[in-house]
């Protein structure tokens, strides 16, 4: 590989421009770190810088949309067709969502900690660092890059989970997080090493073809299953899918509420996008290798079962929680389960429905981010003002702070997935995506089973969400009224209004957005026949080559294993 690259090659500025959002994030980190040296320590300033950085990243991402054509870009010249990083509209959309959410969480932080906080700089450095890692997670199909990105996202997360240093629970949470994370990533790396051993590459596109060939031939099934499961484990850890979810409730409960809010959406979102991208790559791999995607039935069922168990587990376990953050942790496990179901949709590229799972995921993520932000905002304000995270602190909130209670109801009902809120529409697109496989694959029964699981879980989840509503409106411990800060109230209400808009008016817009951004996501159909000949010019919008032209497609076998 290395031999093919001339040492005199440097990426052009234009090409570096594709990397601008990430660079902006790095820049923000640097500014936050440097600023105190010049201006003195101030948490609020760091927050402002982070806010600005997020906005700049956002703008840069938006600007890139025009430059990225259909099919996306993978890597820089001359390895542009099989690079370690991918830039397509999906990653841009994800970054936009991430940055928006980042600004929300920053605002939340400002609400809660502006005066007394002494470690604002470190906090934002770590948070933006994890954001960078998440951005990278969604833009790779290289296993090494994937591992690095997951670690990049995780390591700062470990630290900010324990950021409240004098809080025992916080310390405990971070220890659990780091240990669990370490184990998961280690196992994932082991799986990666096995895959590397079998196919002698870290490029998922090629691995997928090899796996398809082997599965079709009935070879290496044990190794493949094991290694794929190990890789999946690493991702499932980030998603917090059962059985890799144990860290989630503990960390959510122990960490500060801003951190919880951040983790509940961002890290899961990144991992889910990654998962779907991988699944997509495997589909394409199978097709390129000339096999039916049914080769991956087992994988689909495995993912589906995992997803179904996740949402059921999350919903049931949430029943008896009295800590709001812990309750929301289980809720997030359940929602991740719903979204993970989309990974079971194995579709043939080129068909009209191919963009659907990812589009549905993006819609769900958008809505989920909004509703979680709303819920966490209210929960944060309540917990700050009452010094309690217990559900009892919500008692009589309808009277004590109606402007918090009403948006809270909207968000919670939306989390249940009932009309007329965005949660329903998100769930609806999800169900449509699941159902869309009806006539296409043998996985239709799986899809319908998953649909039924989703709706039944909706029912189960009703209870614990409504428990909060019930506490807010139907009981009253005569606690004193709250004086919610205006910004927080505004934010919560904004979320509620957005959810209502998503549920009634702006139903098409997120869908169109998601379709537009995911419809032509990067398709790793390109197979390198020779290491040094790029098949595509960078930025070429054409789909590279049809399958039959990919002559001399060599799938490295498990070499040397005598």
């Amino acid at each position: 590989m290395l031999a093919a690259i001339e040492l005199s090659w440097y990426p052009s500025l234009a090409e570096l421009g594709w990397f601008a959002p990430e660079l902006a994030l790095v820049g923000t980190i640097v500014v936050i770190l440097v600023a105190p040296l010049i201006l003195g320590r101030s948490g609020l300033r760091s927050a402002r810088i982070a806010f600005a950085g997020a906005l700049v990243t956002l703008l840069l991402s938006v600007r890139l949309v025009e430059q990225v054509g259909g099919g996306g870009i993978s890597g820089l010249a001359p390895e542009s067709a099989a690079g370690m990083l991918i830039l397509d509209k999906l990653t841009i959309l994800f970054k936009i969502i991430l940055m928006l959410f980042l600004t929300g969480v920053t605002a939340l932080w400002v609400l809660g900690s502006s005066e007394k906080e002494e470690n604002g700089e470190e906090f934002f450095v770590l948070m933006i660092g994890s954001a960078l890692g998440m951005a990278l997670m969604t833009s790779t199909l290289n296993l090494l890059m994937m591992a690095v990105a997951i670690e990049a996202a995780s390591l700062p997360s470990y630290a900010i989970a324990g950021f409240d240093k004098r809080n025992r629970k916080s310390a405990e949470a971070s220890v659990k997080y780091v240990i669990f994370g370490g184990v998961s990533v280690a196992i994932m790396l082991y799986g990666i090493s096995l895959l590397y051993g079998m196919y002698h590459t870290l490029n998922v596109a090629i691995i997928a073809q090899g796996v398809a060939n082997d599965l079709a031939a009935g070879q290496n099934t044990v190794l493949i299953s094991m290694s794929l499961f190990c890789v999946l484990g690493g991702i499932a850890f980030k998603i917090a899918a059962v059985p890799f979810h144990f860290w989630c409730p503990d960390v959510f409960e122990g960490a500060k509420i801003e951190v919880t809010a951040w983790l509940s959406v961002a890290s899961k979102a990144a991992a889910l996008v990654l998962l779907l991208r991988l699944v997509d790559a495997f589909n394409i791999g199978a097709m390129v290798a000339g096999h039916s995607i049914l080769t991956y039935n087992g994988l689909a069922w495995g993912l589906g079962v995992l997803a179904a168990i996740s949402c059921t587990w999350g919903n049931f376990a949430a029943y008896r929680q009295s800590n709001v953050k812990r309750l929301l942790a289980y809720s997030s496990i359940a929602h991740a389960g719903y979204m993970m179901m989309l990974a079971t949709i194995f579709t043939l590229p080129g068909t009209t429905t191919s963009g659907k799972p990812m589009a549905a995921l993006m819609i769900y993520l958008i809505v989920y981010a909004v509703m979680n932000l709303g819920v966490f905002t209210v929960a944060a304000i309540v917990s700050w003002q009452t010094k309690s995270e217990d559900i009892g602190a919500f008692s009589g909130l309808g009277r004590r702070a109606p402007w918090l209670a009403v948006p809270m109801v909207c968000c919670l009902v939306s989390l249940v997935g009932l009309p007329p809120f965005g949660g329903f529409i998100a769930k609806y697109w999800l169900l449509l995506a699941l159902g869309s496989k009806m006539a296409e694959t043998s996985l239709a029964p799986l899809s319908w089973i998953l649909i039924i699981v989703v709706v039944i879980n909706t029912l189960i989840s009703l209870f614990f969400y409504f428990r909060i509503i019930r506490t807010m409106f139907l009981s009253d411990d005569q606690l004193p009224a709250l004086s919610p800060p205006f910004l927080g109230t505004a934010m919560a209400n904004l979320c509620a209004v957005l959810l209502l808009l998503f549920g009634v008016v702006l139903i098409n817009e997120p869908k169109e957005l998601a379709d537009r951004y995911t419809g032509d996501m990067y398709k790793p159909t390109v197979v390198l026949t020779s290491k040094d000949v790029p098949i595509n010019a960078p930025g070429d919008m054409q789909v590279a080559r049809s399958v039959d032209e990919s002559d001399a497609m060599q799938i490295p076998a498990l070499g040397g294993a005598q």
Binding site: I179, F180, P243, N297, T441, A444, I460
Partner: protein, 778 residues
């Protein structure tokens, strides 16, 4: 629309207006005036009824009545559609309607008048509020409903009014609803009637489906047509599969008739639904007179008469059987009654039994004739009893009365006229008699013929029969009544003819029962009268207070006069006029080939006692014999009677307990139903809710409790707490791995991962992917 229809419709509307006014403004109109308003309304109706009757008699004479009937059938109101079958309603303008209308309005008017006097004595002030206007309000509603029932040309409307009179009956029985027994009796009456209506509805259904209409004439025509053409119910291939039991067409037709008759059983209190009527005496006495003696209870008989053309021989036999049981059993109970109103109530039951029996036996004219005569004399007797009760300060026990004739001469005499009428007083050789002498004994005569006791030959022997001129007066026809009665018999007795031989035993038995009861009737009636009015006063205090008021005895006198008149004039000719149209079912031809008989014997008042040698003695003088017996026994008060009673104590107890019907029903139905209800409620609370809602309820309960707000502990499924694995337990199950110890987490994860890998390796999730692919694709 002819004048008659207008009269009749106006006659229906007037009481409704009265009802409406009294309902809205009753309290303001005040005590005497609201009563007079109702009387005025009813009197208006009576005038209309009289106008109609008089006019109609002329139409019958001139032979234009049939055209008017037909014309009335044309102008109907399209009320609704059931499915796609239109339901139209109009006025059923024929002789029967006219005569019923007159009878109801006439009696009602006088009873209303009586009521003013009666209610004046009943202050009815409860909580400072008078119920006076409400009484007349209900009475007006009753008038409306009863008249509506009479004129309806449609079975469904007949049913609707039928229920409305039931409602009025309910409200009026329960008029003293602050008394427990009154409200109980009201409820009993309504529910018992509902049981009958249950059958009625089925009858309606079958009429609707098999005959395609609910119009009375239309249904009868369709029935005849189906029989004639062998279609529909009489299609040999007709069968209905009821749970594997194939019901044939004629059988279905029989069931249809019996279903309709069920309604009559309820309303006319026939066995086994007779239980409500004696209790209904809890209502004010005018109500007993009007509703529970003269009019409403006769509606059952009217219904059977109306649907007569739909009855098959088997259905008729059934009807006759029910009537026979009722008339016998109830008459026996009447012997032991000591309450004057109860005694009259059982006599009413028995007489209704006669009517039903008559209809079943084929004595259509006789039964309706009996309905008319009975209405007058029984209303009069009830009013008389009301007078007695009122005069004796609400004393109803005959054992405490006696000798009242001196204090209440008018009441006593009129009551005696009633007693004579019901007993069948008459001189057989002279054609002199009262009410029952003509009507009841005619029923017996028909039964006698049908049972074949008088020898064979009546049915097939047409030659001697001749048509009695329609509209002929009673007195003209007395002479040739021997033959006439045979014709008359033929008119109504058609349907059972071929079956008579098969059922000879039953028919004979029924005849003998009816005959014996004819002897019982004079006995208990005379007992009743004698105990009340003759002998020595047994309770001086009661006797001292006894008095009568003109307001109340004027109606008695009027009704007494009409008791006499009705026995001879007006009614029977009109009934006979209606008979051909309402009875000449095709079955007449079908079963014994005597369709022509239908044209015979119009309006004949027959001397049955002369026609049947044996009946001359057997029935004609029964009243005299039994009067004597009763007077002998009760001449000195109850002494001898109670001795006799103790001598036959088991029988007497059985009779006093009314054959234990109330107890049996109470046990079987009331308690049974409540038990079933309790079981259902228990089941619902603990099992259905327990299972269906155990997930929800327990979880809800727990999380209610969890939040520190205890919901009462025995929420839904206290008993079945352990039954289902609840969501909450599931929650614990799912929570249990979250021990808080990171090593456990890792172990659990690794274990789960291992299991998952093993499953992936050794378990193919989709064994037959291709098959499902094809199947899912359809």
């Amino acid at each position: 629309m002819s004048n008659y229809e207008t009269y009749l419709l106006a006659g229906v509307a007037v009481p409704f207006v009265s009802f409406f006014i009294l309902m809205l403004f009753g309290p303001r109109i005040g005590k005497p005036l609201s009563g007079w308003l109702a009387v005025a309304a009813m009197a208006t109706c009576c005038v209309l009824g009289t106008l109609t009757l008089v006019g109609w008699l002329g139409e019958v004479d001139s032979g234009t009545a049939a055209e008017l009937t037909a014309a009335a059938g044309e102008s109907q109101f399209h009320w609704a559609d059931i499915g796609s079958v239109p339901i139209k309603v109009g006025v059923n303008l024929d002789s029967l309607t006219v005569i019923m209308f007159f009878m109801v309005t006439f009696i009602a008017t006088w009873i209303f008048v009586f009521s003013i006097g009666y209610m004046a004595g009943h202050s009815d002030e409860v909580d400072g509020k008078s119920k006076y206007h409400r009484f007349f309000c209900y009475l007006s509603l009753f008038g409306f409903s009863m008249l509506g029932l009479v004129i309806s040309s449609n079975l469904l409307f007949l049913f609707i009014f039928w229920e409305l009179v039931g409602l009025c009956s309910y409200l009026l029985i329960g008029f003293y609803f602050d008394k427990k027994f009154a409200s109980n009796a009201a409820m009993k009456a309504f529910i018992t009637n509902r049981v009958g209506d249950f059958g009625f509805i089925f009858g309606l259904m079958m009429v609707y489906f098999f005959l395609g209409t609910l119009d009375l004439d239309g249904a009868a025509a369709a029935f005849a047509d189906q029989y004639a053409s062998g279609t529909g119910l009489f299609d040999p291939s007709f069968t209905i599969n009821v749970l594997g039991w194939h019901v044939s067409g004629p059988m279905m037709a029989t069931l249809m008739g019996i279903g309709l008759f069920c309604g009559a059983m309820g309303k006319s209190a026939q066995f086994p639904l007779q239980v409500w009527l004696p209790d209904a005496m809890a209502g004010p006495t005018p109500v007993s007179a009007l509703i529970h003696a003269a009019t409403m209870v006769a509606a059952g008989v009217y219904l059977v008469a109306r649907v007569y053309r739909l009855l098959t021989p088997d259905a008729q036999l059934f009807i006759a059987g029910v009537g026979c049981i009722t008339l016998t059993a109830m008459a026996l109970i009447a012997i032991v009654q000591t309450d004057i109103k109860k005694c009259l109530a059982y006599s009413t039951l028995s007489q209704l039994g006669y009517m039903i029996f008559g209809l079943g036996m084929g004595a259509w004219i006789a039964a309706l004739f009996h309905l008319m005569t009975h209405a007058f004399f029984k209303a009069m007797m009830f009013l008389g009893s009301g007078q007695v009760i009122e005069g004796c300060h609400h004393e109803q026990d005959m054992r405490k009365m006696g000798g009242l004739i001196r204090k209440m001469p008018v009441t006593g005499v009129t009551f005696l006229i009633g007693v004579l009428a019901i007993a069948g007083f008459g001189i057989p050789s002279m054609n002199l008699g009262l009410g029952g002498y003509f009507s009841k004994d005619e029923i017996l005569a028909v039964a006698w013929d049908r049972a074949g006791i008088g020898g064979e030959g009546h049915h097939s022997d047409q030659d001697g029969h001749h048509a009695a001129a329609s509209g002929a007066t009673a007195f003209d026809l007395v002479s040739d009544s021997h033959e006439a009665h045979n014709g008359d018999d033929r008119v109504a007795g058609h349907a059972l003819a071929t079956d008579d031989a098969d059922h000879a035993g039953v028919l004979k038995l029924m005849f003998w029962c009816a005959l014996i009861t004819a002897y019982v009737t004079p006995f208990y009636m005379m007992r009743c009268w004698w105990l009340t009015f003759m002998g020595k006063p047994r309770d001086q205090q009661v006797h001292d207070h006894a008095h009568e008021s003109p307001m109340m005895y004027v109606p008695l006198v009027v009704l007494a006069i009409f008791t006499v008149v009705s026995s001879y004039a007006l009614f029977r000719p009109l009934i006979a006029d209606a008979a051909p149209a309402l009875t000449d079912a095709v079955l007449v031809t079908a079963y014994d080939g005597h369709a022509d008989d239908a044209n015979h014997a119009k309006g004949a008042l027959i001397n049955l006692h002369g026609a049947h040698d044996w009946l001359f003695w057997g029935v004609g003088w029964s009243w005299a014999i039994m009067f004597l017996v009763a007077i002998v026994i009760y001449r000195n008060g109850v002494g001898l009677g109670s001795k006799l009673k103790s001598a036959f104590s088991p029988i007497a107890t059985l009779l006093e307990k009314k054959y234990y019907f109330d107890e049996i029903y109470d046990f079987m139905f009331v308690r049974g139903c409540r038990l079933l209800a309790s079981i259902s409620a228990f089941w619902d609370t603990y099992v259905v809710d327990g299972i269906i809602a155990s997930l929800t309820s327990k979880a809800t309960e727990r999380f209610s409790a969890f939040a520190g707000r205890g919901v009462d502990a025995n929420i839904v499924d206290g008993v079945f707490n352990g039954m289902a694995v609840t969501a909450f337990d599931l929650s614990n199950l799912f929570r249990s791995p979250h021990t808080g110890r990171i090593r456990n987490y890792v172990l659990f994860t690794a274990g789960a991962a291992a299991v998952a890998i093993l499953l992936l390796l050794f378990f193919d999730p989709v064994p037959d992917a291709q098959a499902i692919l094809t199947s899912a694709g359809g």
